[in-house]
Symmetry: C2
Subunit: 297 residues, 2 copies
């Protein structure tokens, strides 16, 4: 069963039970959006790193701690949210050394402090292979979470940073979640939709197109490829953890874009435009591609 | 590293980052207690079931779905809370059949509906062995979550149901979380402390004694043993998922106790008394024991 099939199944099985439960957005976006209080919505996300899938034996525990927190923070950023509390599940083999566990927990504590996240609970269990799950709760101004499902015909498509080559240049373990950038972009550009890029612009952009009932028309020459990598690598390599957003043309402004790039030392690039729904949710230079994104499942 | 050492380490590493973050209770109780709104506190808990530790290959997915939800609901019950939202991480081997996954997800959807929980998000990843993590969020009236750390000298010690033999009689997979019972007990008996029994009364009662700075003095003859099992099995077998609570003598009442037993068809038993802190956090007929509880880690 492919990940998308499983998510579709989960959505169909679980969504009957949502009315009146304080759920603005359930399964299918970077975070769930839940009722909180007069000023804020609560957002919740969860990511798992598992040995042999996301990392190999021998990966330094400090890098695991960073990545575990950062992948979740990237989901909070995608909603333009502020992280608050983390809940950790640590499933570890008996033979894992106390030194490794201590280094991992120490690093996670430091990383959490850096991003002002408090680890407030969790579970520790034995397992055959190391499996780390972090659930992250955060908040976002009431009604102002940015979903992936609201891109509108005529919007510009933008990405932050450089795409591709994240496995060869190490960025997939060592990336910086775009928390401040996301809030700045929300406040200055009023994006209609936003998500983070975990499986590559081709796959994630297709998801945004499908969720929005639109087509993202990407111009290949505009895609900011890391390390001069090939376009296909930039679009399908995955684990970029950059932001993909759609912005009404009336809100876009070259001067603001340069201000962003200077303020955050990070590229911001218009890579295409949103068209009304065509046969495919994403095209590259007007053509559909049969590529697949980075598969975590 | 033992589970208790790891929890102590986590507590020391993570607790520096708590002030001003809306955290009434962080690591160390059945749930974290977090700021929510004018009427409610938010509570959060997380439990993981892992293949070969908590279940063996061949366990029907319906039982896994029930148990995954029920262990978390039992933690919510322990705070006298009301469950709201679940976030699922499913780490599964590639060879796991779509039929198994579909049965698991279908059963989880049904169970969630039964307990009025909405599954609002999660993650699916590949792993060498099946590892299921559910984070459950709930609510409890502001300031009224029942912690394990507040048992007072002179209180009575009570347990619900029958203890022990849960692996031979199947209760460890098929138990009923004590959600309604917990709220009834809170409202009628004003307990000073409450927790759920996952590792057995000996280990969990010791935790309550330590957390409260007191000694739980258990009377062996009063312990309600399931299937006439031996006292040691009843106290250390684990996975009872019953409630352990301490009640001021002035609030206890035999008539109320019988009302509880009739209303819920469930035994409620006074098994001892809270004494001021002695050398050991829990005694049985006045004596310390060197037993260990059911170890999940």
């Amino acid at each position: 069963m492919r990940e998308q099939e499983l998510i579709t199944l989960a959505d169909s099985l679980f969504s009957g039970n949502i009315a009146g439960k304080g759920i603005s957005k359930g399964i299918g976006d970077d975070c769930a959006v839940l009722s909180y209080n007069g000023k804020w919505d609560l957002i919740a996300t969860c990511d798992t790193l598992s040995e042999n899938t996301h990392f190999l034996k021998g990966t330094p525990p400090e890098l695991l701690a960073h990545k575990l927190l950062a992948v979740n923070l990237s989901d909070v950023a995608a909603m333009a949210g502020i992280p608050l509390w983390g809940i950790l599940s640590l499933a570890a083999p008996k033979k894992l050394s106390p030194a490794f566990l201590t280094r991992f927990m120490t690093a996670l504590g430091k990383e959490a402090e850096k991003y002002k996240v408090s680890i407030v609970g969790g579970d520790t269990v034995r397992a055959d292979a190391l499996t780390l799950t972090l659930t992250l709760l955060g908040k976002v101004e009431k009604g102002r979470a940015l979903l992936r499902s609201n891109a509108k015909e005529g919007d510009l498509v933008l990405v932050t940073g450089l795409l591709g080559n994240t496995f060869s240049n190490g960025k997939h373990l060592d990336f910086e979640p775009r928390l401040k950038e996301a809030r700045w972009l929300r406040d200055k550009f009023s994006p209609t939709a936003m998500m983070d890029l975990s499986d590559g612009l081709f796959e994630d952009g297709s998801r945004m197109g499908r969720a929005s009932g639109a087509t993202l028309a990407i111009r290949g020459t505009e895609v900011p490829c890391a390390d001069h990598c090939a376009l296909k690598e930039a679009l399908t390599g995955g684990e970029d953890f950059e932001l993909l957003l759609t912005v009404p043309k009336s809100k876009f402004d070259e001067k603001l874009k340069r201000r962003f790039e200077k303020k955050f030392s990070l590229k911001l690039t218009v890579v295409g435009e949103v068209l009304k729904a065509g046969k495919h949710p994403l095209t590259i230079d007007g053509k559909a591609k049969k590529w697949s994104g980075y598969a975590h499942f």
